[in-house]
Amino acid sequence: MISQEPFRDPRLLDSLFQAIRSEAELAGRRFSFMEVCGTHTHAIAEAGLRRRLAPRVRLISGPGCPVCVTPVEYLDRAIALGRLPGVRLATFGDLFRVPSSRGSLETAAAEGLRVEVVYSPRDALTLASAHPEERVVFLAVGFETTAPAIAATLAEADRLNIRNFYILSGHKVVPPPLRLLASDPELALDGLLLPGHVSVLTGWGIFDFLAADFGLPSVVVGFTPADILLGVLELVRQRRKGEARVTNLYGRVVRREENAEARRLMDRYFTPIDSDWRGMGVIPGSGLALRSEWAGRDAGLWPVSLPEPIEPAGCRCGEVLKGTISPPECPLFAAACDPDSPVGACMVSSEGTCAAWYRHERYRGEAAP
């Protein structure tokens, strides 16, 4: 394993800030870049990079938190499924406290809903095998990083002939919303910091369209402060020279080619569908549904009655997710909405933009951009 220590060396970070400043001064203008991935948002906030980069470089947080972009209707359905007789839900922790139209999985659990927080879909499969009398439904939410693991678990369920394991797929893929954001005139992005983990699975070649179709410099980076600053430096440089390429600065783990085994598994179990993103609406081909031959595993096909979906009143998660406002511009931020009593999903998930700002940046007195 490569030690992360050198990537946090204060002297290295200082020289990177210096280099970015010089490049930006040479260019003689300001830049807006979006970090797509929620883990980047968190890392940027944790290291305090945003303020040191301002005002020359503005970092805008993107829609890269899978829980946050999951529409409220998904959770409504999950809770309704959990109320069916003999059903036990299994979920990643991020989803547990996210508000639905009526309460969260956490509050429903207190009222008797059977729901287990697991670290891995394999744990959900173990639950199913331990409770053959129940139907165990795994709440499958995530991006390209999670989908192959779910697919592998489905393959394992078939291999072990565990019939009482089901999923409710809320999976999404990253490239389609980037197409929308890249061409959004309101955002007017100058470049993109691309998700490092997703790229491990998809390969960075999948993002070629950002440079080719939209002329946007884009860079795949890792998650330490030095990785991120190096990415910003690369974007500023490309802009100054009038270039637009996709560059991979995360060569420690990311290749141009996709992970073929992960792709094979995903294609075996999932098929692209149009999918609803909170804040952005329905985006063609941006979701993953179970293929029809696996309908027997698809809890999404079970008939349940759903409440009218209600977004939390006053919550501006949608605009935060799209990057058109920063969290402190939402009147609920740190007032009616905090991680202990979250109003919107962005304040719940550790990758959520509001949670990252609340946890790491709320004393920095950052002015809204």
């Binding site: 060396d9 204060p10 922790g93 939410v141 983990h197 946890r359």
Partner: protein, 339 residues
């Protein structure tokens, strides 16, 4: 007469089986003149000069065996450490067991041996105990409760009331080893080079205090790790605590596990580390004294106490970029995350 492989309800009923358990398993290991009488209470000699200090703690760790220790070893260390950070010299402990029917006798034996080893390392004696057995399903294998009595020597006064703005905060070694080890064991992550830091701290703390450094307060960052400890000191002193991320001693394997599970090393429990608040000009001397002890080799400064500021978080981390970020107390346990 040999004990069965598993604990029976009868072992807690007070009759012959209970006596067998005590006489065949517990007494031979624990034996000392105070315990040996098996009377209702251990009657102890007069306390050394100073102020008595008394503490108690319950131990319910799952799993009860982990790399670097076991529930028995931990149960003695925990109480010894609570006394030690209060400035007391630990003397006597009680050791009380709640066993679940069906518990493997070998597991009990291992934990007993662990407790005996910890007591020997700490130079304390287990002078009283109790054994109860609860029906299967009413407990989780083995719960241990300890109480400890020690004495704060005359003239020694440690506590948060003495912490001053400008005090340096030291850690006696890498943070989070215990918490990360337990997490890894729970999730069956094998092959990891993780090991609990669990250890009795009284010797290390004696060495520190003998250095003559002006120590103001000591804490053992157990549940909630250094994060919770700093919040507690902050609440009691009204000062703010600022930690330096670049100086925080975290082993790469602990950092990696935390990164994987989305946890903060600063919030991971330790069972053999102390945090020390002391006069800034004495920090170097204190670090030297700590490093000369086997349990303090990794001692270093991690931050300082500062005068409170309205516009800043009461507990904060200074990042390698020189920015500060707030370190909040979380409402509950950290939840595992998606990616």
């Amino acid at each position: 007469m040999t004990l069965p492989d598993r604990i029976l309800l009868a072992h807690g009923a007070g009759g012959r089986k209970t006596r067998e358990l005590i006489e065949e398993l517990l007494l031979p290991s624990l034996s000392n003149e105070f315990l040996a009488t098996l009377s209702d209470a251990a009657v102890m000699p007069r306390l050394p000069k100073g102020r008595p200090a008394l503490t108690t703690d319950g131990f319910v760790v799952d799993p009860p065996l982990f790399p670097g220790g076991d529930l028995g070893y931990l149960s003695v260390c925990g109480t010894v450490n609570d006394l030690s950070v209060a400035g007391a010299e630990p003397l006597w402990l009680t050791w009380s067991l709640i066993l679940e029917e069906g518990l493997e006798t070998s597991l009990l034996r291992t934990c007993l041996e662990g407790a005996v080893r910890a007591a020997r390392e700490a130079g304390v004696r287990i002078v009283a105990g109790d054994t109860k057995v609860v029906p299967k399903g009413k407990g989780d294998r083995l719960f241990i409760t300890t109480a400890g009595l020690g004495v704060v020597p005359p003239g020694r006064d440690l506590g948060d009331h003495r912490v001053l703005p400008g005090d340096v905060i030291l850690a006696t070694g890498p943070l989070g080893d215990h918490g990360a080890t337990i997490m890894a064991s729970r999730h069956s992550m094998s092959g990891a080079a993780l090991r609990s830091d669990c250890a009795p701290l009284n010797g290390l703390i004696s060495a520190l205090l003998a250095s003559g450094a002006e120590v103001h307060s000591l804490h053992d960052p157990t549940r909630g790790g250094a994060l919770v400890t700093c919040h507690e000191v902050c609440a009691r002193t009204g000062l703010r605590m600022v930690l330096e991320e670049a100086h925080l001693p975290v082993r790469p394997e602990v950092a990696a596990l935390c990164a994987l599970l989305g946890l903060a090393p600063v919030a991971m429990p330790c069972e053999g580390r102390a945090l020390i608040w002391l006069k800034e000009s004495d920090a170097a001397r204190a670090i030297e004294a700590l490093r000369s002890h086997p349990l303090g080799r990794g001692a270093c400064a991690i931050g300082r106490a500062e005068a409170p500021r309205k516009d800043r978080s009461p507990v904060a981390m200074r990042t390698p970029t020189g920015e500060e970020r707030p370190l909040d107390l979380r409402a509950g346990a950290d939840l595992p995350r998606i990616c």
